[in-house]
């Protein structure tokens, strides 16, 4: 009998010990470095943002941000473990520490910044919610949608904006709510709903995948602000700063004209600003806990912000989304980075 009693006590002690370990805070930057790979939470599949291609390689704007962080921290953009998350799982995955950073076209809101224990590191895509309808419906504006049935994905700000918009315009609608994008889309295509709503980038992304994209019409109205960006856990300022400055590095590189093609020459530039950016002058990287030439690693891996935008969602992609709000500030857009100095 005694060994059994001992066993029980030992088991209890072990559980107490593991519970204790789980609560200990660790520094994400050190964890990523010692693990040798970045665990990055991405969308399960959204063309242009994160989607595995026919060879199983992840591609997209959000995926390139994962690569950029891995390049900055580890010097190797391939050392990323992509964790596909649904809208519903994403925050729990980050909170529990399963992923180091969440880059999954996620809207920055007050509630998410305050009560979820997350903090947003910036905006890598300025978006807004829109509506897509079948051209055969004969609808030209969202104001004509009174009484429509709307397919929407659960767990998103989309669901709330939709309710607000119809209420504000004194219209009624019927929501049909699904957990996954695929089923939402299937229901819309089967005619269960008149309207499919999500962020406009998502609408374009879905539209381009249809056999006849011209049959579907994205309505002109944008009914909400959807700043999408990467988020990390609260209470780890060092890691937040790293993610933030990877984003700013991409923007600054574009502003300074450093591209994937010319970065090798730029390293030898005499321009004082470029010398700072490529790490020939000053110790910017060191303060962040990164190699001094981290911007060079990033640009070599994914290019600057403009390049990765055009490649994934802009003119170089099938989506052909105009840059609009995502132009640099000096071109009339909203993308503005504090200086690297």
């Amino acid at each position: 009998m005694k060994p059994i009693l001992k066993g029980i006590l030992a088991g209890a002690a072990a559980l107490i010990a593991t519970a204790g370990i789980a609560s200990a805070q660790t520094k994400t930057l050190d964890t990523v470095k010692s693990r040798g790979s970045l665990s990055c939470g991405v969308n399960v599949g959204l063309a242009g943002f994160s989607q595995p291609d026919d060879k199983g390689n992840w591609t997209g704007l959000d995926v390139d941000y994962c690569k950029a962080i891995a390049a900055a921290v580890l010097g190797d953009a391939t050392k990323v473990k992509y964790v596909p998350t649904t809208a519903k799982e994403r925050f729990t995955a980050l909170q529990s520490g399963e992923i180091d950073v969440l880059i999954r076209n996620t809207t920055w809101t007050t509630a998410r910044d305050s009560s979820l224990g997350l903090i947003f590191a910036g905006v890598n895509y300025y978006d807004g919610q829109g509506f897509m309808v079948k051209g055969s419906l004969g609808v030209k504006t969202a104001k004509e949608l009174n009484g429509a049935t709307v397919c929407v994905q659960t767990g998103t700000t989309t669901e709330l904006n939709l309710a607000d918009y119809f209420k504000a315009n004194k219209m009624t609608y019927k929501p049909v709510v699904f957990e996954k994008l695929d089923e939402t889309l299937q229901a819309y295509l089967a005619g269960r709903c008149d309207v499919y709503t999500t962020d406009q980038s998502g609408l374009y992304s879905v539209r381009v995948q249809q056999p006849k994209p011209e049959d579907h019409l994205v309505l002109p109205e944008i009914i909400s602000k959807e700043p999408l960006g990467p988020s990390v856990r609260q209470g780890d300022d060092q890691w937040l700063t790293v993610v933030k400055w990877v984003h700013y590095a991409l923007l600054n590189a574009e502003e300074a004209g450093i591209t994937q093609a010319n970065v090798a020459e730029m390293v030898n530039s005499t321009n004082p600003e470029i010398k700072r950016i490529v790490g020939k002058d000053g110790e910017l990287g060191k303060g962040l806990g990164l190699p001094n030439d981290f911007v060079v690693s990033i640009v070599k891996a994914v290019g600057n912000y403009g390049e990765l935008f055009e490649r994934n969602v802009g003119s170089g992609s099938r989506l052909k989304i105009a840059r609009g709000l995502n132009k640099l500030w000096n071109n009339g857009g909203l993308q503005y980075a504090p200086p690297l100095r």
Binding site: G155, E159, L160, A163
Partner: protein, 399 residues
């Protein structure tokens, strides 16, 4: 262990050690240690979770229940709109779950009994068809069946503007089944009253007829009289009052049909999927229950002069029920729990509304999931308690 360490004689009185070796003392001691260890374990888990949530600055507690939900739900049995609270949304989801589980249990039982009895049919074709049904349905995963029903049904039905018209003013299209909604006019209450009187009278007749049979052996056609009382009498009242009921017919306005009542395709697909799947298991339970009654019982019943129907109704089925009810209970519980697959096909049940949308909007996963688990546990325990009561009621009463 009690057997091994039996009495050690007078010596055991003396020392503490021998006291501890007494089987009853030791048994009690182990139980106490186990309870303390379990309580400590749970206390540590709970405080640790709470401390971690606090440290990570994640909101906790149930304060969110009174906050405005801000989202809409497509099917609600009680009044609901997006200005109401998360608590209200929870009720909406719960009622939707109960609706589909309740109707599913009834439908699955009916289909299951029909198929189960058909498997024992002497008609070769009927028996084979029932076997094929059971073997095909119970061997395909439920989630696939739900997708099949939902998408196969959706894709084969026309859009609202090309709806199939049903006789009597109903429509079927990809948005659901639209039926005229009955709207009671003043005076309709009398019909309800007639139904209630009919039911009460039927029960009284049933009791009286039973007593009469006990005393005199004469039988009375209780079933037919009851049917007449419950159906024909209210119908008579209804006609006498000049049919105080109008119908609200669905009409195509704008994008959709307006008015009437609608059964959404999500609901229909889930109900069909759950019922048909669970019915295949119930059919097997029914078949095995009937076959479990020994042949001699039926032969004895026929020997004392009961008709074939009577022997089935009075001898075989009551005994079969005793075999059927316990496994039937677990099928009912399975159906209730499987209803949470609704989230896959967009039916707004508890899991979709509460641990889907609400969880996401509030981010309070621990609380929301805990409540969901408690709700399913409660529903299951209630179903199981009812079935246990029913089982006791049906059990063999020895005279």
């Amino acid at each position: 262990m009690a057997v091994i360490t039996s009495d050690h004689g007078p010596a055991r009185k003396a020392s503490l050690a021998s006291y501890l070796y007494r089987p009853e003392v030791r048994q009690a001691l182990y139980q106490i240690v186990l309870v303390v260890a379990l309580v400590a374990l749970f206390a540590i888990l709970i405080t640790n979770t709470a401390a971690n949530l606090r440290k990570q600055n994640i909101a906790s507690g149930f304060g969110f229940i009174d906050r405005t939900a801000g989202f809409d739900v497509s099917q609600h049995l009680i009044d609901y709109d997006n200005s109401m609270t998360y608590g209200r949304a929870f009720l909406v989801g719960l009622l939707n779950t109960l609706l589909v589980a309740g109707l599913g249990i009834v439908l699955a039982t009916v289909i299951g009994f029909i198929i189960g009895i058909s498997r024992l049919s002497t008609n070769w074709l009927v028996a084979r068809l029932a076997t094929v049904y059971v073997e095909v349905i119970r061997n395909v995963p439920l989630l696939l069946q739900l997708f099949f029903w939902y998408f196969a049904v959706l894709k084969s039905l026309p859009g609202p503007r090309q709806s199939y018209t049903l006789p009597g003013g109903g429509f079927v299209n990809v948005r659901g089944l639209y039926l005229p909604a009955p709207v009671p006019q003043p005076g309709f209450d009398a019909v309800w009253l007639a139904v209630v009187i009919g039911i009460v009278a039927s029960i009284a007749i049933h009791l009286l007829a039973r007593r009469r049979q006990m005393l005199t052996g004469q039988q009375f056609p209780v079933l037919w009289t009851s049917l007449a009382l419950i159906v024909l009498m209210p119908l008579g009242v209804f006609l006498f009052l000049g049919q105080p009921l109008v119908f609200d017919y669905p009409e195509l306005k704008g994008f959709n049909f307006q008015g009437g009542m609608v059964m959404q395709p999500e609901f229909l697909a889930l109900l069909l999927g759950l019922s048909i799947y669970t019915a295949s298991f119930i059919a097997e339970i029914v078949r095995s229950g009937i076959q479990g009654v020994s042949k001699g019982q039926k032969e004895a019943a026929l020997a004392i002069g009961l008709s074939k129907g009577q022997s089935l109704r009075l001898v075989v089925i009551p005994q079969a029920m005793r075999i059927i009810i316990p496994p039937l209970t677990s099928q009912f519980l399975n159906l209730t729990k499987n209803s949470s697959l609704a989230v896959a096909i967009g039916y707004p049940d508890l899991v979709s509304v509460w641990s889907g949308t609400v969880l996401n909007q509030t981010g309070q996963a621990v609380e929301v999931i805990l409540v969901t688990m408690c709700v399913f546990l409660t529903i299951s325990l209630i179903v199981s308690a009812f079935m246990n009561w029913f089982n006791k009621h049906m059990a063999l009463v020895e005279r």
